[in-house]
Subunit: 145 residues, 2 copies
Amino acid sequence: MTTTTAAQRRAEAKTRFDAFLAACPSRKLLDRISDKWVVLVLCALSGGPHQAEAGNGGGPHPMRYSQLARMLAGVSQKMLTQTLRSLERDGLITRTVTPTVPVTVTYELTDLGRSLLGPVRGLKSWAETHMSTVLANREAYDARA
Amino acid sequence: MTTTTAAQRRAEAKTRFDAFLAACPSRKLLDRISDKWVVLVLCALSGGPHQAEAGNGGGPHPMRYSQLARMLAGVSQKMLTQTLRSLERDGLITRTVTPTVPVTVTYELTDLGRSLLGPVRGLKSWAETHMSTVLANREAYDARA
DNA sequence: CAGGATCCAGTAGGATACTG
DNA sequence: CAGTATCCTACTGGATCCTG
C-alpha cells in the first residue's frame, strides 16, 4: 500500500536537501564565517579597520596571540584559540611559533585568507549603507503591533 | 589598593568591546545572515540560482509559503516561518495575504532585499572558487596529525 | 493552506582553573 | 606567554500536535 507515501516523500526530499546542503560550497563558507569570531579575527589580522582604539592605519601584519586577545576583548580565550585553530586548519591564516624564552606565537593571514577579505568587505559595505534602514524597519514593525 | 586592577580592566575592556559589537552594523548583518536559513530563503525568492530541481532561469518572483517549504525541504516549518517573519520585520521581504478560499500567502523580495543579493553573491563566488582549496587544506591538516 | 504552541535534545560558547 | 581541560548554562532549532 501507499498509505505513508506523503510522509515518506517528505523525508526523502529532506534527506536529499540535506545532502545537497552538505555538499554546497556556499553553505560551507557561511557555516565558517557564521562562527561569530571568525570575521573579527580576520579583520583584526588584516590591519583592523574597525577598532576604535589604537589608530593603526597600516597594512596587514602578523599578530601575537596576546595582541589578538587584547584587541578582541569580548572573546573568551577558549573561543579565540578554537577560532584560530580552525582558521589555520582551513589555510586562511598561518601560525608561527618562535621558541624564544617565553614562546612567541604569531598569526598571519595567508593569501587565501586575504582573498576572503574582499567579499567580507562587500558585506561590511552593505551593512554600513543599509543597516540603519533595516533597523528602522524593525522598529516600525514592532511599533505597529 | 590596586590588587584586582588587572581583572577589573579586563572586565571593563570586555564590556566596552561588547558594547561596540552591539552597535556595529557589520556585526548585526552577520548575525542576520548567520541565521542558517536566511540566505537560502533569500536565494529561493530571488529565483533560486542553486536548486537542481525545477529549471527556472527566470527573474525574481513571489513565492507561496508551501512552495518555499517544498523547495527548502530541509527546513522545519517552524524555522521557515520564523525566518520569513524576521525577514519581513527587517523589510527585506514582503508578506502578502490574499483571502482566497484557503488563504494564499506570498512572499517577495523588496528592493532592499534584492540589494543584499549582491554581497551575498560575492560570498557565493568566493566559495565556488576557493572552497575546494579550503577543504584540501583541512584534509592535509587533519592528515598530519 | 499557512502557521501557532509546546516539548525537548544537542551544542555553542562563557567562566574558571591549571600547565609547558 | 600561549594555550589546555573541565564544567555548566542558555539558546538554537527540530519534531510533533493543533488551529483559523
